[in-house]
């Protein structure tokens, strides 16, 4: 039983990280109609930066209690890469989808070498940094407190995004722009600014997820290109552009992966893509997506 609970918690932790990246992807797609292949690179950037941050923190003798908020802060600050990249993407708005995909693919290639240049080709990991806050042990079940904090942070982000989109004036403007760009513009919405803010927010969600995951996993060159397909799976299963979809999709992918690793490792990734294909075929718009006309 406790083994099962462990698997479950591992899956939920993975889902929490996936949700953060997928939420960024959904936000950008929902408003700007751009699929950002580089979202995995933002995630990796956050992870590498997290490694560096924890390195500094230990050198400066920073209290371990500041590590978690510090990592979140580092991730949010990394959102500054958003505006210049959005400026670059502005050249392909309104052009064929293939060009948008290709431009973000170019970003993926470039980011790979940025990581190689600054952090080297070898994976960078922190030994057991996830145990800084100890673990809660109940019966024979041990859960690192850090993992619970990350799950709590993801839930807080989900709630915050929901409130932002549904209850604030800014959220109303965002939804209006997503619905009908031309009409929103005609009503006086500064769409350029909205796009910049949305993309920056999306990028910051990705970098924060990366920074948060680094105490539990190594930062490596592969993580960018591996994670993006998993985040893709999440948004496809949940439905493109839907926040609720990102949440449900992340839970499905996270739990399936965790279960597969324990019960039948060969199916770890296979199972996810089988579900993706099934969803695309049976309900192309995803579980929570609206059918595109």
């Amino acid at each position: 039983m406790s083994a099962f609970a462990n698997v479950l918690l591992g899956g939920i932790f993975h889902a929490a990280v996936l949700f953060l990246v997928a939420a960024g992807l959904q936000l950008v797609f929902g408003v700007q109609k751009i699929i950002n292949l580089a979202c995995g690179s933002f995630y990796a950037l956050g992870a590498y930066f997290g490694v560096t941050f924890i390195g500094w923190a230990t050198q400066l003798g920073l209290s371990p209690w500041l590590i978690f908020p510090g990592l979140i802060l580092a991730g949010v600050v990394l959102g500054v890469i958003g505006p210049p990249i959005e400026r670059m993407l502005r050249t392909v708005y309104g052009r064929d989808e293939s060009f948008q995909l290709l431009l973000t693919f170019a970003l993926v290639l470039m980011f790979q070498d940025v990581f190689r240049f600054f952090w080297g080709a070898n994976p960078r990991s922190l030994d057991n940094a996830y145990l800084i806050y100890g673990a809660i042990t109940a019966a024979d079940l041990g859960v690192p407190v850090y993992n619970l904090l990350v799950i709590a942070a993801a839930i807080a982000v989900a709630a915050g995004l929901g409130a932002l989109l549904q209850q604030t004036n800014f959220g109303r403007i965002l939804r209006a722009t997503a619905e009908n760009r031309a009409m929103a513009e005609a009503l006086g919405v500064d769409v350029r600014r909205i796009y910049m803010v949305v993309f920056t927010l999306g990028a910051a969600l990705g970098t924060t997820a990366g920074a948060l995951v680094v105490p539990t996993a190594a930062a490596s060159l592969d993580m960018a290109i591996e994670f993006v397909v998993e985040a893709f799976a999440v948004v496809v299963i949940g439905g493109l552009g839907s926040m609720r979809g990102a949440l449900v999709g992340a839970l499905i992918v996270g739990l399936i992966r965790a279960c597969a690793i324990v019960f039948y490792p060969e199916f770890e990734v296979l199972a996810i893509y089988c579900i993706v294909i099934a969803v695309l075929l049976l309900r192309p718009a995803g579980i929570f997506g609206r059918a595109l006309a």
Binding site: V92, R95, A106, L109, R116
Partner: protein
């Protein structure tokens, strides 16, 4: 493009490539083998992308079908005739493409891209995880094969690649290009372009849109398998990286680099990419950054690719002469 211009360009190209192994070091001749492989695969890819308007982000799965097919047929079954291997992998890839295509072509745009990406990654995880069947991440060995029944036993691998195999691949590329030229200039090709430009209108005038898209998908798979078999022969190995999504992205990159709206664009793109990658790799370990930068510049500023640029430079000259 006018047929006369195309023929002139093709003849010049063939002569240059026929003389190339005599003029340059063997290294560059062997470097042209992946070019031939990619060029053949991209001719098929562009039938789908340039002519039918479907962007596949999982096309590398058909190259993998070619490379792994060669590994199984030549390595496991011991059939060492490259022609037999080619025939078998083309049939295999096209049979494989029928169900996948059937499921994919009902979607267009971003959904087609994501479905093909998902199928590609499905293959990747199968090849990567089922170690006892596929060798996992170490891949499967592709043994040396005979060409047209000739062993070439006196040649070592480099000499074989720079000599007989080079001309063999050149011939394959010519055949593939002629075949593709016939396909895109047939009524079938016209149907595909009509579907690309306005699928609904095409349907109104009686085109079976799904059936034609599926046909384009299956044909492109066959070309991809030939390319994959050539790549496998050269490296002597089929490994799962060949079907990873970044490799599919690389195929799109090459096509856009050369220019997808031109018949010869994919061939030019494969050539430019192969040379560029080789030169950059010897120059710096940060070659991906430069390639990514080039891709960004092309997407933003020169969406017609190299072929489009050359065309734009040539056209005024051409006109002033006549």
């Amino acid at each position: 493009m006018k047929a006369r211009q195309a023929i002139a360009a093709a003849v010049i190209g063939i002569v240059v490539f026929a003389l190339l192994p005599l003029l340059v070091p063997a290294y560059y001749a062997t470097l042209m083998i992946p070019f031939f492989g990619y060029a053949i695969a991209l001719l098929g890819f562009n039938l789908l992308f340039g002519y039918t308007g479907l962007l596949s982000f999982g096309h590398a799965m058909f190259l993998a079908a070619g490379a792994y097919g060669a590994a199984v047929i030549a390595g496991v079954f011991g059939i060492r005739s490259f022609e037999a291997v080619l025939l078998a992998v083309v049939v295999f890839a096209m049979v494989l493409a029928v169900p996948i295509g059937f499921l994919c072509v009902r979607n267009i745009g971003i959904f087609f891209g994501m479905l093909t990406l998902a199928f590609g990654m499905l293959f990747y995880s199968f090849l990567f995880k089922f170690y006892h069947l596929t060798g996992g991440d170490s891949g499967m060995r592709v043994p040396r094969m005979n060409l047209l029944g000739l062993e070439f036993a006196q040649y070592n691998k480099i000499e074989l690649l720079a000599g007989p195999f080079y001309y063999y691949c050149l011939a394959l590329l010519i055949v593939a290009a002629l075949l593709m030229w016939r396909i895109v200039h047939s009524p079938f090709g016209l149907h595909l372009r009509a579907i690309r430009d306005n699928a609904r209108k095409a349907e109104y005038v009686g085109v079976h849109v799904h059936r034609f898209r599926l046909a384009a998908f299956v044909l492109s798979a066959g070309f991809g398998a030939v390319g994959g078999a050539i790549l496998g022969f050269r490296i002597g190995l089929a490994d799962p990286e060949i079907v990873y999504w970044t490799h599919s992205g690389q195929l799109v990159f090459m096509t856009v680099l050369g220019g997808f709206s031109n018949f010869f664009g994919p061939i030019i793109g494969a050539f430019a990419f192969t040379l560029l990658q080789d030169q950059l790799q010897s120059l710096t370990q940060y070659w991906r950054f430069i390639l990514g930068g080039i891709l960004a510049v092309i997407v933003i500023g020169f969406p017609t690719g190299i072929a489009g640029m050359v065309d734009a430079l040539w056209r005024p000259l051409w006109r002033s002469k006549t």
